[in-house]
C-alpha cells in the first residue's frame, strides 16, 4: 500500500516533469536545438508570475492567463532576433549562446529578486486532496498531471491536425525543402519557440505552486526535462509524458529509500536508459 502511494506520487510528479519537457521536446523536434536556458526560463516565468501577483494583486490563475500571450511574444522575439542568428551547420554556437543566456537569467534574477526561496500560492486549494483507489491524493498534483495531458494533447493536435503543424513537421524534416514550398523556416522556428515559451510558462505556474524556487534551481529543471525527453524518445510528444513518469517514479522510489537519493535515483535511471535504449522508448521513424 505504501509503495503504491509512492508510485502514484511519482506518476503525478512525472506530470510536472512532462510539462517541463514538453517545450524542450518541441524545440528539439523542430530545430534540433537544445535550449540550455530552458530550465532558467521556467524559473524566470515563475518569478514574473510572483511579481504580477504581489505588485498587481492579481489572482494567480488570472496572472498566468495574462502572461501567456506575452510569453509567446518573448519566445518569438528571442528566436527571431537572437537564436536564428546562431543556427547553421555548427551546433556549437546555439549551445553556447543558450548557455550564456542561462548565466544571464540566473544572475539577473539574483539582482532583481535576491537568492531567497519563494513560492506561488493557490490558497486553500493547495491543501485539498481527493480519494483515489483508496489513497489520499493532493488536488494540485492531480491538476498538474491533468494539465500536462491536456498540454501534450493540444501540442499533438497542433502538430498533426493543423496547417501550422504540417509546416512545423516539414521544417523538422528538411529546412531546405520547405523553402521550395514557400515556407520560411526562420518564421516557423520563431513560432515554435513562442509555443515553447507558452508551455514553459504553464510549467512555471505548477512548479511555483508545488515547490519552493530560487534563481539557482533552473539547471536542475533543464536536466529533468532533458532526461524525460531522451527516455521518451527524441521528438515524441507522448513519449515525453512516459519519460516524465518514469523519471518521477524513479525519484519517488529513490526518495523513499533515502531522501538524499531522490535526484540521484532519477539520474541513474536515465543513464541506464542511455545504455539500454539510447533512442528512447518511442523513437521517431
Amino acid at each position: 500500500m505504501d509503495y503504491l502511494n509512492t508510485i502514484v506520487q511519482g506518476v503525478l510528479l512525472g506530470g510536472l516533469y512532462a510539462l517541463y519537457a514538453a517545450g524542450l521536446s518541441l524545440i528539439f523536434g523542430v530545430m534540433r536545438l537544445i535550449n540550455l536556458a530552458h530550465g532558467d526560463l521556467i524559473v524566470l516565468a515563475a518569478f514574473v508570475l510572483l511579481a504580477m501577483v504581489s505588485a498587481l494583486g492579481l489572482p494567480l490563475p488570472v496572472a498566468l492567463l495574462i502572461l501567456l500571450p506575452f510569453a509567446f511574444a518573448l519566445g518569438w522575439g528571442l528566436q527571431r532576433f537572437l537564436l536564428n542568428r546562431t543556427l547553421g551547420d555548427d551546433i556549437l554556437l546555439p549551445l553556447l549562446v543558450t548557455f550564456g543566456l542561462q548565466i544571464l537569467i540566473q544572475n539577473g534574477l539574483l539582482v532583481a529578486f535576491s537568492a531567497d526561496s519563494r513560492k506561488l500560492s493557490l490558497g486553500a486549494l493547495e491543501t485539498q486532496s481527493v480519494n483515489l483507489l483508496g489513497l489520499s491524493v493532493g488536488l494540485v498534483p492531480l491538476i498538474t498531471f491533468a494539465v500536462a495531458v491536456v498540454v501534450l494533447g493540444a501540442l499533438s493536435y497542433i502538430f498533426y491536425g493543423t496547417g501550422l503543424g504540417r509546416r512545423l513537421r516539414a521544417t523538422s524534416d528538411s529546412t531546405e525543402v520547405v523553402q521550395l514550398m514557400g515556407v520560411n523556416p526562420r518564421v516557423i522556428f520563431a513560432i515554435a519557440m513562442g509555443i515553447s515559451f507558452v508551455v514553459l510558462t504553464i510549467a512555471a505556474f505548477f512548479m511555483g505552486v508545488r515547490s519552493n524556487f530560487d534563481p539557482s534551481v533552473g539547471p536542475a529543471r533543464l536536466l529533468y526535462a532533458f532526461e524525460a525527453v531522451v527516455i521518451g524518445g527524441l521528438g515524441s510528444l507522448w513519449g515525453t509524458l512516459a519519460g516524465g513518469i518514469i523519471l518521477g517514479v524513479a525519484q519517488a522510489i529513490g526518495a523513499r529509500i533515502n531522501p538524499e537519493w531522490q535526484i540521484l535515483a532519477g539520474h541513474l535511471v536515465f543513464l541506464v536508459f542511455i545504455i539500454v535504449r539510447p533512442r528512447g522508448l518511442f523513437p521517431k521513424q
Binding site: V97, G100, F226, L234, I263
Partner: protein, 366 residues
Amino acid sequence: MSSPQPAAAPEPATGRYRVRVATRTAKAFWLVAIVIIAVLVFAPAFASRPMLQDLILVFLLASLALCWNLMAGYAGLISVGQQAFVGLGGYALFALIIVGGFDPLLSIPVAALIVALLSIPVGTLVFRMQGAYFAVVTWVVAEVFRLLLAQWRELGGGTGTSLPRSATNDMIGLDFVAELFGVRSAAAREIIIYWAALFTVVLVVGGCYYLLRSRVGLALRAIKDGEVAAQSVGVSTTRIKFAIYLFAAFCAGLVGAIYFLQTSRISPDAAFSLLDWTAYIIFIVVIGGLATIEGPIIGAILFVLLRNTLSGYGPWYLIVLGVLGIGVMLLAPKGIWGNFSQWTGIHLFPTRRRIEIVSQASKDAR
C-alpha cells in the same frame, strides 16, 4: 620539436612543392617561449605571493581551457561536464591523502591517473550520445558524481572537508624549497603548487601543439571538414575523439588535484561547480579564440585580470561576462586571437599545413 618538419609531404620525390607547418615567426617564438618558461620557473624568487596565486589560477584555467578547446574546437566534442573530472581529481587527491595517508605531492599524478581510468567507463557511456545530446549527458554525469561524493561521510559528505595540517606540512620537497627561498612552510607549499601548475600548463600546451601537428591533427582537421568523408579515407574518428576525451579528463584531474591541494578544502558544490569549471572555461575559450592554441592562454590571462577588478560586483560581474560572451560569439566568433591572427597573419603555434612551391623546383621545370 623546434625544427621545421616537412610533415607528411605527400610526394616528396617530385620536389616541386613541400608541405610546411612552421612559420618564421613561430620559429622565433620558440626562443621567446623558452625564455618565458625560464622566467616563470624562477618567478617564486622575485614574485609576490598574490602574484603567484594569480599565476597558479591562470595556469590551471588555461590548461582546462586548452583541453576544452581541443575537444570543442577540433574534435567536435562539446562538453558542459568537465567539472566531473576536476571534481574527481580533487576528491581523489583528498581520498589519497586523508584515507590512504599518501604524500600530497605524489598524490597529484596518482589522482590524475585515477581520473583518467574513471573516464574510460564514463566516456563509453557519454559517447553513446552525439552533438548537443552529448553535451547535456556529460552534465548529468557530473551531477551524478557530485551527488555520489556528497554521500562519502569520511570526506565530509555534503559539507565537505579540509586537509589536516599534519598532512600538508610534511609534503615532499617542502623543507628544501623553504630553505632555498628562505620562506615559511605555507609559502613553500604554494611555490611547489605553483611549479606543479606551471608543469601542467606546459604539458597541456606542448601536448596540444604536438597532437595538432601530428597525424592526429591532420585527422582532426579532416573530421572537422566532413566526418563521413574522413571515415571514408580511413580516419578512425571515434578512436581519436575518445583519446582526446581521455587526455582532457587526465588534465582536468591534474587541475582539480592541484587546485584543491592549494585551497586545502573541498566540498561537492565547489568541486563539481558548473560555473567555475565549465562556464568560465567556455568564456575563456570564446573570448580568446576557439580552435587556436594561443586563444585559451590569452583568454585565461584576461579572465583572471577581469576577475580581480570586477568580482566585487557579484551577480553584475557574471551578467557582464554573459553579455560579453554572447556578444563575441555572435559578432566576432573568432575571438581575440582569431581576429588578431587573421589581421596580422601571425601564428605562434602554427598547426595548419601549407603547401609551398620550392623555387629550386620551378627552376628545374624550365
